[in-house]
Structure formats: C-alpha cells, structure tokens
Amino acid sequence: MSHTAAYAVPRSPAGGAVAARATGLSKVYGQGETRVAALDSVSVEFRRAEFTAIMGPSGSGKSTLMHCMAGLDSISSGSARIGDVELGSLGDRQLTRLRRDRVGFVFQAFNLLPTLSALENITLPLDIAGRQADPEWLQRIVTTLGLSGRLAHRPSQLSGGQQQRVAVARALTAKPEIVFADEPTGNLDSRSGAELLGFLRESVQALRQTIVMVTHDPVAASYADRVVFLADGRIVDEIHAPTADAVLDRMKAFDAKGRTN
C-alpha cells in the first residue's frame, strides 16, 4: 500500500456530507535548524455521522491534527474546514465562536468546572453563547448517557466515568457539527472506558453525531467506523470497520517498519 500518494487527493465521499476536511494541511514548529513539521501536507475528510479514530505513535502528529481541525491551533499551510468555514482565515475571536457553536470537545482530563453542577457543566457552551438548551435534545442526551440522576451533583461527587460522560453530554448538547475527543478514556478503568466508548458509538448511531477521537488504544479505536493512522505527520493508512486485532496488527506493522527504518 502506498502512503501519501493514495491520500493526497481526497476520495469522493463514500456516503453523506463532509463535516470537516483537511487539504494539504501542514503544521510547522520552530524555524531553521529547529524546524519540525508536526503535520506534513495531510489531507483527510470526516464525514457526517461517522466515528473516526486517529491513531499513531506519540509524536506522529495525531493530537496536532485534532487541534488544527478543531481551531485550537493555527495552521502553517494548507486548509482546514469545518463545514464550509475555512479555519485559516479566522481570527481568535471568530475561532472561539466557531468552537463554541460548531465544535464539541472531550478531553482526557480537566473537562469540568469543579464549581458547577453536572447540568451546569453540560449547558456551559450554550450559556456562554447565551442560548437556551433544547429541552428535548438535552433530555435525550442525558438519558442516553445515563446521567439522569446525577445532574445536580458537583464533579467531585461523580466517578471518573461519570465525569467523562458529563463531558460527552456537554460536547453534544449544542448539536455541534463535529465532536473532537482527545484520549477520552485515557484516565478511566477498562469497564468505564468501554461504557464511555459505547456511548460515543451510540451518539453517532442514534443521534447522528460526527466524532473524531484521538487514541492510542486499539480497543478504543475498534469502536470507530474508521481508523486513520498517522506517522511522522503523514497519514499512512486507514481501516474501515476495524476490530481491535486488526488495529493492533496494523500498528505492529508500523512499529516493525519504524524499527527497521
């Protein structure tokens, strides 16, 4: 399988509209001698109502790709779009607004404000935007995530798994075009992790959300519809309908190649 060549030109969408798209996206840190290309002309599409996992060894650029696509980090060259919005042309305030209105986030940790209740945390992006939550939608998310009895609790009164579910609920509540999740199960035990991934899967299927998840866990990746592999800032492979074993095999192959290189 060839690497960059096959992915340099985005393939025509297999199904549904594109929620976000990177075209020739590069991210360079430093200058001259210390110049490091974290992303090297990456082109990728995230289709609506699809659950994509981004995998790769540390330093492969998977987090950078997510940050650039989510409007958290600037782009050196190329293009990153959410829907029809070109991120490269936006200033800080517009990026902030974009994140607020069209992007959801789930981080590995520090997702919630300890001073706010679970419900207040969930509606925080809407509060910031000065919008009202759609009660039916909110109800549906809360029920789907199994948080009904926990809404008045403070984060410190919730388990790690529950806290991450609140974070997912918050990411979904504003009906964003795309949700980015950065190692959402990284701090969870395997059962809570599996539960959370089940919910993410569910929200793609039942709520038709678009989710992009960065992970290094093959089991987590196996919940996705598609896995995109990154190495050295380039997309090197892709699997559809992955299983944990298939992902693991593919990663072993990269590792072996990395060692022989």
Binding site: S63, H67, A70, L72, D73, D92, R93, T96, R97, R99, R100, D101, G104, F105, F107, A109, F110, N111, L113, P114, T115, L116, L124, P125, D127, I128, A129, G130, S156, G160, R170, D182
Partner: protein, 845 residues
C-alpha cells in the same frame, strides 16, 4: 531543608512577588517612620546644640513672685555686671526676647501659627553679634531699625532699606530693614519668623526699659559649668533661675524626644495597620503555595523528611522572603522618610530640615519586623504543610482536598462578633471618655470576629453581587461568582485586608463629618455680634483698639472682653471682665438667676450655671478669688448665666480685674455693625487698624469654618496614612487573583476551548475581583459606621453638639472606589488569564 527553602523561593519568584510587595510596603512605612523621626530629632538636636554652643549658664527671671520684696529686683544692668565679675565668666549676653507679629504683604502675620521670635541684637567688641551672624547690611542700632533673617524678609516682601511693618501688642510700628542675619534658632528653621532690634528698642517692645528677659553666661575655657552655675545662682535673688547649658540642652532634648516620639508613635500605629493587612496576604500566599505543592511536600515526606523539617522549610522560606522584602522596604522607607517631611509640613506641622539619620536600630527594627511578621503569617499555613501525608505523593492528580469544615471557625467568629457588638452596645451607655478602653476593646473584638466570620458572610454577599453580575454579564458573571465562592477562606482573607482599611476610613469619616456638623451648629450661636476681633499673638489686644473700633463709622457697638486667671479656694479659674451693660448688644446671655445689670464695681460678679453647680454657689453667695498678683477679693454673686463658649465661668466688671493685671489687654473685641453696614466692615476694620498683623477679624462663618477646616486637614492626613493599608490590600487582591488564575490554568484552557473568548475570560477574572473587593468594602463600611456610631456616644458630655451623621455621599464614593480597586486589581491577572495559550493550558503539548 535550607536549600529546599531557597530553591522554592527562587522557583516561585513571580508568585511570591505580590507577597513580597506587601511586606515591602509595610516595612517601608515602618522604616520610613523610624528614619523620619530620627532625622527630625537629629535636626532639632543639631540646631539646639548650635544655639546653646557657648551658653554655660542661662539666667531667667523665673515665674512671677508672690513676695513683694523680691519683685523689686530685675535682670538689669547691675545684675549683668555682678555676674560678669564672677571668676570663670567670659561674657554675659543680656537678651530681651518677645513675640512680635511681622506683617506679610497682605497684613497677615509671617510664620502663621508659629508667629515670630523677637530678640535684641547685642554687638560684641567687633560691633557684631556672634549669635546672629550678618549676611547683609548691619545690625540694628537705633529705634527705627530692624534686622530679619532671609526667610522672614522674603515672606514680609521687604528688601534691605525697605520698611518692615510689625506689631507687638498694639498698633503697627514701622521699622527700616538694615540687616539680614543667619540663625540656628530651631523655631525659625521650622517656620517661625525672626526679628532683631537694638537692646533699648527690644526692652521697650517686649519688657521694661533697663530689664532683660534672659542672661546667657559664657565661661572661660576650663571652667566647670556646674560649679559656675552654682556660683551664679548664689548671687541671684531666690526667684531667679540659673541653669547650666548642659541642663538646658538636656531639658530641651527631652522635649524634642517627646515631640518626635509622639509623631513616631502615631505613624507607627498606621505602619502597624499596614503590616497587619499584609499578614492576610502572606498567609493567603503560603496557604495557596502549600496547596499547590502538596505532592512535592508529600514526596519530601515519603523520602524521609519529618513534619518538623517540612514546617521549618516553609518557615525558612517565609523568613528569607521577609528578609529580602524588608531590605528592599528599608530602601523605599528612606524615600518615604524624605517624602513625609513636605507632606507633614503641608498639613501645618513645621519640622526643621536636616540630613537623613539612619541608625542601626532603625535598620534592625525594620528588618526584624518584616521577618517576624512574614514568619508569623506563614506559621498557620506551615502547620497545614505538616499535615500532608506521604501517601498524597501517589494520589491521583484529580483528588482536590476536601474543603475543611468551617463549623468551628464560624462558631468562634460568631462568638467574637457577638462579644464585640455587645461591648460596643455597652459603650453607648457611657457619656464621656471613661468608656474609651471598652470602645477600643470592643472595636478590636468586632473586627476580629468579622475577620473570622468572613468566610461565612462571603456566601450571601457574593451571591448577591453574583446575581447582579449574572444579570449584567451572563455566564462570565456566573463563573466569577462560583470562583469567588469556591474557596471562602481565600476570598475572606483577601477581602478582610480591604475591610480593615475601609472600617478605619469609614469610622474616621463618620466621626469627622459628625464632629463637623456638631461644630457648625456650635460656631458661636449666642454671638449676636457680626465680627470677632482678636489677636494673633497670645498677648491680646491693647484696649486702644476697642476704643478705635467703637468710634468707627458703621460700628454700632465694639465690646472688649478681657480674661484673667484667678484661684478659688480649691481650683484655678478664669474670669471675663467686660462692660456688662454693653454685653447684651453683642452676645445673647441667658440669665438663670439674679440680674447681670448688678455686675459692677469690685464687689459683684456673675457666674455660669456650670461653675455655680461645681462650687455650690447661688445668687447671694460670695466667691473668694485670689489673683496672680497675690491680692485677694471676695465679691458677691449677683447673677447666674447659662454656660457659653465665649465667656469664662465668671463674669466681672473691669474694675475688679484690671488692677491685678500687669498690662491690661483685651482677649477679643466683639463688633456689632450698624444696620446694613455688616457687609464690608471686616475690610474696613482691618484698614482702620492699619492692616495690623496682630489683628484677626472673623465673621460667624469664619469661626465655623476655622473649626471645621482643621478637622478636614486631619481627616485627609488620616486618609493618606491609611492609604498605605489600602494599597497593600489591593496588592492582596492582585495576589489572590494571580494565584487563582495560575491554579485554574487548565480550567481556563478548557473554557477557552469550548468557546469562552478572551474578553469573557478577562471579564470573569475582573468580576471575581470586583466581588471580592465589594465584599470587603461592604463589610468595612458597615463595621466602620457601627463602630463610629457606638463610639460617638463617648462625646456626649464633652461635645454635646456632636450628632451622628452618616455621610452617604462619601460612603458611596468609598464603594465606588472599592469597585475601581476591584477592576484595577484585576488588570494584570485578567490579562494573564486571557493570554493563556489554550493548548498549553489544557496540558496538551
């Protein structure tokens, strides 16, 4: 452990900066005060030693004698000759001194309240007076001549050859300026004027011809001062006083020390307040640092450090911080000392100039105070560090320490506050200063109680402000409220610092405004005269002035009032002598018994109701009066009048009082204008009296303003001195916010990621700041008003016109200022929060 402490100090430089600033400002105030008072004392002493340089013995007439035989002798030429003839005496300088009033360009006295010193110019063998070295011209030698020092001449607007206008106790005298001299007189360097005359003229102006007021004896080299003083004393009549130069210097040095130590004490109280405010900031910082460093400390414990070592490490860190900050503070303090001089002089205190005096004890006290305060403030937090268990090094990141219960603290705070309020309510039952100790204890208890109770009080108040903030600013208001409520101890400690300053400021303001109101109703309500003419010197006015005024067109009545001292059987008293029949034209006297018209001749007096009560007098009783010339009288009481500020407690006809006075002088003349002529009469009176610097003409309004003005001056000085405490409190708010922003870096990053823009982040920090500041301000204003109200009762007997006034306008200004303080304190922390790189903040890279 010392190395750990030092490393920690260096590692947290920026985080400790604000704390260091708080300590620095406090110690700067302390060291500034010390250096300042040492310098002022030094300057006084320096002047003094110069002016007493060659005085071995000083001879003065002493007090008035009651023995008529001794009254005959005076300090005259014969006495000078007798002393000069004594062995060991090099020379005798006979001086005649007094207090002339020199007119400035406007006819007001040079030297303000200090007035001027008058002395005689005593030419030596070379024709010059060594006490007053000439700068220009020559010494005064004839009656029409005068010499001044350069400053006085400048203030009087006279150059050599020009005319100096002055007055001693009568009309204006013109003298030609013939010389400019230098002087070491400390009063003159402090702001008083100086005028020199030839001896005969000085005697005419200040005493009697041929008599001196002081003889300054200088000794031949090798003569013992004490022995010479004894010898001189032996040649003098009993009433005269002979004191050695050393003795004189010691007495005056003691006076100087008393004077400077009272300034020092006052300033140190305010410096102490500033330091106390700083304690909250230091304690807050160390509490936060230790919370942030929990894992580090747990690790130290895990690898074998004992609790004691952990505590010691924290305290050493505090000590080092205190030392560095106070050393810098001392340097700043020297600047403060330099600046205090003009500031205090600007409010009327006249202090001599001189070099800065930096004593080792000042350095040591400032550094000591800085270190001790910092270490003490860090002591409680250090106990918290000791409680950190080694296992916490292994705990997961998320486990924030469960907030400790406030139950104990709240109960203690409630008890203290209740006790304080109780004591203050008890204070309201006092009518005089007898309750002052209770008032101080009660105020301290109330404040301490509020400080302890502040975390509890912060909840409802911050919620209240929060409601407003949310309505105005939505989500950033809500986040700010939650942040302010998150750690009630921290919010409370930060606000307490501000509360202390505002309690004092509000309390003083309420007191001052109320006193002001009291005085304005006081003024001289019973004075029906339009003007009060009085003297700027303590010598009073020549009776001629009242006569001149009475003949002035536009004047309906000019009634002179004289006062004199006397002794009853039991206590000293004061009597006003006046033409009682004319008194009614200028004064509303309420007679409660007898008739004022009967007060005449040498056998009848009236007394005030207060005096009558104190001495059990009624109409018909006799009042034994012993005057200071040794003569006695036993007039009958013929009337009793209601006590008033203008009259003394006894009212008599001049016939009774005048014969016992050395010189008859009016203390004031009350002038009633003819109908419709009151408007420009003040100017006309001054004009008629030759723009005499001795004469002060005050209308009713002037009288009121005079009293109120001095209160305002003091109030503004207090504001200035308390300003430092407020500045330190502001530093505390900045500190807390900056630390909080640092602690909440990841949270802020997350908020930025999910869509809070920079402006809203800034607003969130700013609103938190404003809530903390307003919380402190509301508590402070409330406590200040309450304490001022309860303490005000102590004035009821001595100042019955005092009436509690709540100055809403000023309180509103204070609250607005607190709001501004909140906004200002948040500028830097808010900018830092807004500038946080989102990616770094969420800990991604």
């Amino acid at each position: 452990m010392f190395r750990t402490a030092l490393r920690n100090l260096l590692a947290h430089k920026t985080r400790l900066m604000m704390t260091a600033l708080a300590v620095l400002l406090g110690t700067a105030f302390v060291s500034g005060t010390l250096v300042f008072s040492d310098s002022v004392g030094g300057a006084y002493r320096d002047r003094l030693s110069k002016s007493l340089d060659d005085v071995a013995v000083s001879v003065t007439t002493g007090g008035p004698s009651t023995d008529p035989k001794e009254q005959a002798t005076a300090l005259d030429d014969a006495m000078v000759k007798r002393i000069a003839a004594l062995p060991g005496v090099a020379s005798v300088r006979p001086s005649v001194s007094g207090m002339p009033m020199i007119a400035d360009r406007h006819g007001d006295p040079v030297g303000g309240d200090w007035g001027s010193d008058g002395d005689n110019y005593v030419p030596g063998k070379d024709g010059k007076d060594s006490r007053y070295p000439l700068v220009k011209g020559r010494g005064p030698a004839a009656e029409g001549e005068i010499a001044l020092d350069a400053k006085t001449a400048a203030k009087a607007g006279v150059t050599l050859g020009g005319t100096v206008r002055l007055a001693v106790d009568g009309p204006v005298i013109d003298k030609k300026l013939v010389g400019i001299v230098k002087t070491d007189n400390p009063r003159v360097s402090a702001g008083a004027g100086l005028a020199l005359f030839d001896t005969a003229t000085a005697q005419k102006l200040f005493g009697k011809p041929g008599e001196f007021t002081e003889l300054a004896v200088s000794a031949t080299p090798g003569t013992d001062q004490t022995a010479l003083t004894a010898k001189v004393r032996a040649t003098l009549p009993k009433t005269f006083e002979a004191r050695s130069g050393q003795e004189l210097a010691a007495t005056q040095a003691k006076m100087i020390d008393e004077q400077t130590s009272s300034i020092r004490k006052t300033l140190l109280i305010f410096a102490g307040i500033s330091l106390f405010v700083g304690v909250f900031i230091i304690a807050n910082t160390f509490t936060m640092l230790i919370a942030q460093r929990t894992r580090e400390i747990a690790l130290l414990r895990a690898v074998g450090a004992s609790r004691r070592q952990v505590v010691r490490s924290v305290l050493i860190e505090a000590g080092l911080l205190g030392l560095i900050a106070s050393a810098l503070g001392f340097v700043l303090g020297i600047g403060v000392a330099t600046g205090l001089h003009p500031v205090l002089n600007g409010t009327g205190a006249s202090l001599p100039d001189g070099p800065l005096v930096i004593t080792p004890s000042a350095v040591l006290s400032a550094l000591g105070v800085g270190v001790v305060v910092t270490v003490l403030a860090a002591w409680l937090p250090s106990r918290k560090a000791a409680r950190i268990a080694p296992v916490e090094a292994l705990a997961s990141v998320e486990a924030a320490p469960a907030p400790r219960s406030l139950v104990l603290r709240n109960s203690l705070g409630a008890a203290l506050t209740a006790l304080g309020v109780g004591v203050m309510l008890y204070v309201t039952r006092f009518k005089d200063s007898g309750g002052i100790n209770y008032a101080m204890a009660g105020s301290a208890l109330t404040l301490a109680g509020l400080i302890v109770l502040a975390p509890l009080l912060s909840r409802p108040l911050v919620r209240l402000f929060g409601r407003l903030a949310i309505r105005l600013h939505g989500v950033s208001g809500k986040l700010a409220r939650e942040n302010a409520l998150r750690n009630p101890r921290r919010t409370a400690a930060t606000a307490s610092a501000l509360m202390i300053g505002l309690t004092l400021i509000t309390g003083l303001t309420v007191g001052a405004v109320s006193a002001d109101r009291g005085m304005s109703t006081m003024g001289a309500p019973d004075m029906t005269a339009d003007y009060k003419v009085s003297s700027t010197s303590y010598l009073g006015l020549s009776p001629e002035i009242a006569r001149t005024l009475a003949g002035q067109p536009g004047v309906a009545a000019a009634v002179p009032l004289r006062s004199a001292g006397f002794q009853t059987d039991t206590s000293p008293g004061s009597v006003t002598a006046t033409d009682v029949r004319a008194l009614g034209k200028v004064l509303d006297v309420t007679v409660t018994g007898g008739s004022l018209a009967d007060v005449r001749g040498t056998t009848a007096v009236a007394v005030s109701d207060k005096f009558a009560k104190e001495h059990r007098l009624t109409v018909g009783s006799t009042l034994p009066m012993a005057f200071y010339d040794g003569k006695k009288a036993t007039p009958r009481v013929v009337a009793v009048y209601k006590d008033t500020d203008i009259l003394s407690s006894v009212l008599a006809a001049p016939a009774l009082v005048d014969p016992h006075q050395e010189k008859v002088r009016d203390s004031q003349v009350l002038v009633k204008a003819a109908p419709g002529k009151a408007g420009d009469l003040a100017e006309k009176i001054k004009e008629t009296l030759g723009k005499n610097p001795l004469i002060k003409v005050q209308s009713q309004d002037d009288l009121r303003r005079h009293e109120a003005g001095s209160i305002d001056d003091i109030l503004y000085l207090m504001y200035g001195l308390l300003g430092m405490a407020v500045v330190i409190a502001v530093v505390g708010v900045v500190n807390t916010l900056a630390m909080s922003v640092f602690e909440r870096t990841r949270e802020i990053g997350m908020l930025r990621a999910i869509g809070l823009d920079r402006r809203e982040v800034k607003r969130m920090v700013r609103l938190e700041s404003v809530m903390i500041a307003m919380f402190g301000a509301v508590l402070g204003v409330g406590a200040g008003v309450f304490l001022a109200w309860s303490t005000g009762h102590l004035l009821r007997s001595s100042f019955p016109q005092y009436e509690m006034v709540v100055p809403w306008g000023r309180i509103a200004v204070f609250l607005l200022l607190a709001l501004a303080v909140g906004v200002l304190a948040a500028v830097w922390p808010a900018r830092r929060a807004a500038k946080l790189d989102t990616l770094e903040a969420i800990g991604a890279q």
